[in-house]
C-alpha cells in the first residue's frame, strides 16, 4: 500500500544576499495512513521548515528547490510541489491541516471563535454551508471545550492558551483531513495543559484515524504518542526508526546525546545531566563532512571530510554516522540511499535488540 505521504529528497533553501541557507537538505520519509510520526530536533534543525514545505507555506525567501512531496492514500498520489495555486489552496486545511506553536497568536484576534472554525469548512466543498454551521459546536465539543455551545461567539482573547490550542485543533480537524501536522503544539503551554493537549491528539488519532506528524523538541511528548521518530539535525535526517527502538537503543551520537540530556526520574541519584556542547551549525556556512562532527565526542577522521549516508543500523532503524557504518548493514553512496530509501514494512515488529549492546553507547550495533 502506498503511504499517505511520501517526501522524497526534499530540499528547501533560503537564498539570502550572503549565501544560501540549506534549511532542509535532502530529506526522505513517509507517513502511513493513521500513523503518528514524530520529527525531533533542536531549533534550526529544519523540522518546522519541513512541515511548512509540506503545506507549501515556507516564508520568503525560502523555496522548495528539489524533491517531491507525494500525497494521497487512495488512487493517484499528487505532488504537492507541482500543484497549482488553486490546487494547493484546496489541499491546505482540507487534505492536510496544520496547527502551530503559539496558540496565543495563531487565532485572529478580531474574529469570533465559531466563525474561525466555520470559515475553515466554507473554504472547501466537503461540507455545505448548513453542515458547516451545525458542525461548529460538535467540533468544539470534540476537542473538549467546556460549554462549547455558548462559546462560539467568544473572541480568542477570552480564551486561555490551552483552550485556544483546542480551537486550533478543532479548526484543523473540521474538514476531516487525513493528515494533521502539529508544529510544536505544546511548547507554549504549561505542563499540565501540555499533557491534556497530547492526550487529546492521541485520542483524536485513534477515533478519527487522522495521521499526525508531530514536530517537537520534547522527547517525552514523542515517546508518549508517536509510533515512529525522525531525528533531524542541520537540515538532514540523522536517525529514523520506531520510537521504541530509538528510545531503547539510540544509534546516532546526536540522538544518544539528546536522550542523555533529558532529565529522568529513574536515573541514578546525583548523576550529571549531559549537555551537548557547542551550538547547532550556522546553516549559511555548515561544517564539511558530517554536520554533527564539531559537537560529536565519537568522531573519527572520516567525519571531517565526508558526509555519511543514512544507513540501516538495525531492523527498520537508520542512522547517518560513519562510526556506525563499519558495522552497518548498508553503506551506499548518498545518492543511491536517497533514491531508494527502504520503507520499513508497517507490520514488522521491531526486532529484538541485541542484549549485549550497551543501550547507552552509540555504535553499539548488534554484531
Amino acid at each position: 500500500m502506498a503511504p499517505l505521504l511520501q517526501v522524497e529528497d526534499l530540499k528547501t533553501h533560503f537564498h539570502l544576499r550572503d549565501g544560501v541557507v540549506k534549511a532542509v537538505d535532502g530529506i526522505t520519509f513517509h507517513v502511513d495512513k493513521g500513523e503518528t510520526v514524530g520529527i525531533v530536533g533542536e531549533s534550526g534543525s529544519g523540522k518546522s521548515i519541513t512541515s511548512l514545505s509540506i503545506m507549501r507555506l515556507v516564508p520568503e525567501p525560502g523555496r522548495i528547490v528539489h524533491g517531491r512531496i507525494l500525497f494521497g492514500a487512495n488512487g493517484q498520489p499528487k505532488d504537492v510541489v507541482k500543484m497549482t495555486d488553486e490546487e494547493i489552496r484546496d489541499f491546505r486545511g482540507s487534505d492536510v491541516s496544520m496547527i502551530f506553536q503559539d496558540p496565543m497568536t495563531s487565532l485572529n484576534p478580531v474574529l469570533r471563535i465559531g466563525f474561525q472554525v466555520r470559515e475553515a469548512m466554507s473554504a472547501h466543498d466537503r461540507f455545505s454551508d448548513e453542515q458547516s454551521k451545525s458542525r461548529v459546536v460538535p467540533l468544539l465539543k470534540k476537542v473538549r471545550i467546556p460549554g462549547a455551545a455558548d462559546r462560539t461567539k467568544a473572541f480568542p482573547h477570552q480564551f486561555s492558551g490551552g483552550m485556544r490550542q483546542r480551537v486550533m485543533i478543532a479548526m484543523g480537524l473540521s474538514n476531516e483531513p487525513s493528515l494533521l501536522i502539529a508544529d510544536e503544539p505544546t511548547t507554549a503551554l504549561d505542563v499540565t495543559v501540555q499533557a491534556q493537549i497530547i492526550e487529546l491528539l492521541r485520542d483524536l488519532n485513534r477515533e478519527m484515524g487522522t495521521a499526525i506528524i508531530l514536530i517537537t523538541h520534547n522527547l517525552a511528548v514523542v515517546a508518549s504518542i508517536c509510533t515512529r521518530v525522525i531525528v533531524m539535525y542541520a537540515g538532514r535526517i540523522v536517525e529514523e526508526g520506531y520510537t521504541r527502538d530509538i528510545f531503547k537503543n539510540p544509534q546516532h551520537p546526536y540522538t544518544w546525546s539528546l536522550l542523555r540530556s533529558m532529565p529522568r526520574l529513574d536515573a541514578a541519584r546525583h548523576s550529571k545531566l549531559l549537555t551537548i556542547s557547542g551550538l547547532p551549525p550556522d546553516m549559511s556556512n555548515p561544517p564539511p563532512g558530517c554536520k554533527f562532527h564539531p559537537r560529536c565526542r565519537f568522531r573519527v577522521d572520516r567525519c571531517l571530510e565526508e558526509e555519511p549516508p543514512l544507513g540501516e543500523v538495525g531492523p527498520n532503524q537508520f542512522a547517518r554516522c560513519w562510526v556506525l557504518m563499519r558495522n552497518a548493514l548498508v553503506t551506499q553512496p548518498e545518492k543511491a540511499a536517497a533514491a531508494e530509501v527502504p520503507i520499513p514494512p508497517l507490520t514488522a515488529e521491531p526486532a529484538q535488540i541485541d542484549q549485549r549492546s550497551e543501550p547507552d553507547r552509540p555504535g553499539a550495533v548488534k554484531a
Binding site: P59, R89, R92, D102, T105, E119, H157, M168
Partner: protein
C-alpha cells in the same frame, strides 16, 4: 450600543465643550493682543468716529467683560456675535454657510485620501518588493515631502490646460463656487499629503500583519487569497491606520486654510485667514472654536470606530 458606550460618549462630549471653552478663551485673549483693531486702515476715519465704532461694538470695555457678554450670547442664543468687517452680518449664519462649503471639500479630501491611501498601501504591501511597491512607495515619499501649496500650484498648472477647459473655467471665486466638478482638484491638493501618510502607514501595518501567525493560520486553512488579505490581514492592519485619522482630520482642516485661499474657495479656511488680517475678532474666535469642536468630534468618531474593528477594546 451599551450603557458604557453612551457614558463614554457623554464624557467625551463634555470634554469637547470644555475644550471649546478653553480654546475660545485663549483665542479671545490672544486676538486682542494683536496690534491695531478692525477699524484701523479702513478708509480715512476721524478719531471720533473710530471711538464711536469701538463703543458700538463694545470694544472699549475691559476684555473680561467683553468675553462675558460674548459667552452669554453664545450660550443663551447660539449667537456668535456680529462681524466687525461685514457690517450687519451675523456670524452664526455666515459660519454655517461657509462650513458647508468647507465640510464638503474636506469630506471629499478625506474620502480621497482614505480610499487611495489604503488602496495604494495594501497594493504596495501585498506586492512587496515588486515595481508596484516601488512606484507606490516613491509616490508616497514624493507626496509626503511636498507642502500642500506646492501641490496646489502644480495641480492648478496641470488642470489649467485640461480640466480647466473641461469645467468651463469654474475654478475661481468670481465665477462662483458650488458646482460638483469644482471640488476634485482642490480636494486632491488638500488630500494628497494625508493620503501619502495613510499609504505609508497602511503598507507598514499590512507588512507587519501579513507576517503574523494568524495570517499564516488563515493560509493554512486554505482560504482564498482575497479572504486572507481583506478579512484576516486588513482588518487588523486598519487599527493603527484608524488611529491617525484623527490627526489627519486636523491636518485636512488646517490644510484647507491654505487650499481655500489658493483656489479662492469661499469656505471657512479663507474666512479664517482674512478675518485674522482684518482683526475681525468675533469671526476669528468663532472659526477657531468651530475648528476645535470639529477636531474633538473627529477624534471621538475615531475612538468609536475602534471597538468595531477590535473586539478587545471596550468602553
Amino acid at each position: 450600543m451599551t450603557r458604557g458606550t453612551l457614558l463614554y460618549i457623554g464624557q467625551r462630549t463634555l470634554l469637547i465643550v470644555l475644550t471649546a471653552f478653553i480654546v475660545s478663551s485663549i483665542v479671545f485673549i490672544g486676538v486682542h493682543q494683536l496690534p491695531g483693531n478692525a477699524f484701523v486702515g479702513e478708509r480715512r476715519t476721524s478719531a471720533a468716529s473710530q471711538q464711536a465704532l469701538l463703543q458700538h461694538y463694545g470694544l472699549d470695555k475691559p476684555w473680561p467683560q467683553q468675553y462675558g457678554t460674548w459667552v452669554t450670547g453664545v450660550l443663551t442664543r447660539g449667537d456668535l456675535g456680529e462681524s466687525l468687517k461685514q457690517r450687519g452680518q451675523k456670524i452664526t449664519p455666515l459660519l454655517l454657510r461657509e462650513a458647508r462649503v468647507s465640510v464638503s471639500l474636506g469630506l471629499f479630501a478625506m474620502a480621497f485620501c482614505i480610499i487611495f491611501g489604503m488602496g495604494l498601501g495594501i497594493l504596495a504591501a501585498v506586492k512587496q518588493n515588486t515595481w508596484i511597491d516601488y512606484v507606490a512607495s516613491f509616490l508616497a515619499t514624493v507626496g509626503y515631502s511636498m507642502p500642500n501649496f506646492v501641490t496646489a500650484f502644480l495641480l492648478i498648472l496641470l488642470t489649467v490646460t485640461g480640466f480647466y477647459a473641461w469645467s468651463g473655467g469654474n475654478f475661481y471665486e468670481d465665477i462662483g463656487w458650488g458646482k460638483l466638478e469644482q471640488i476634485p482638484v482642490p480636494a486632491i491638493a488638500l488630500g494628497l499629503l494625508p493620503m501619502t501618510l495613510i499609504t505609508r502607514l497602511t503598507r507598514a501595518s499590512m507588512l507587519e500583519v501579513i507576517r503574523q501567525d494568524y495570517v499564516r493560520t488563515a493560509w493554512a486553512k486554505g482560504l482564498r487569497s482575497r479572504v486572507v488579505i481583506v478579512r484576516h490581514a486588513l482588518r487588523n492592519a486598519l487599527i493603527p491606520v484608524i488611529t491617525v485619522l484623527g490627526p489627519i482630520t486636523t491636518g485636512v482642516i488646517t490644510g484647507s486654510v491654505v487650499i481655500e485661499y489658493l483656489f479662492g474657495i469661499p469656505g471657512l479656511g479663507k474666512e479664517f485667514v482674512s478675518s485674522i488680517f482684518q482683526r475681525d475678532y468675533n469671526v476669528v474666535i468663532a472659526v477657531f472654536t468651530f475648528y476645535a469642536v470639529l477636531v474633538g468630534l473627529a477624534n471621538l468618531a475615531v475612538d468609536l470606530v475602534y471597538p468595531i474593528l477590535d473586539p478587545r477594546i471596550r468602553y
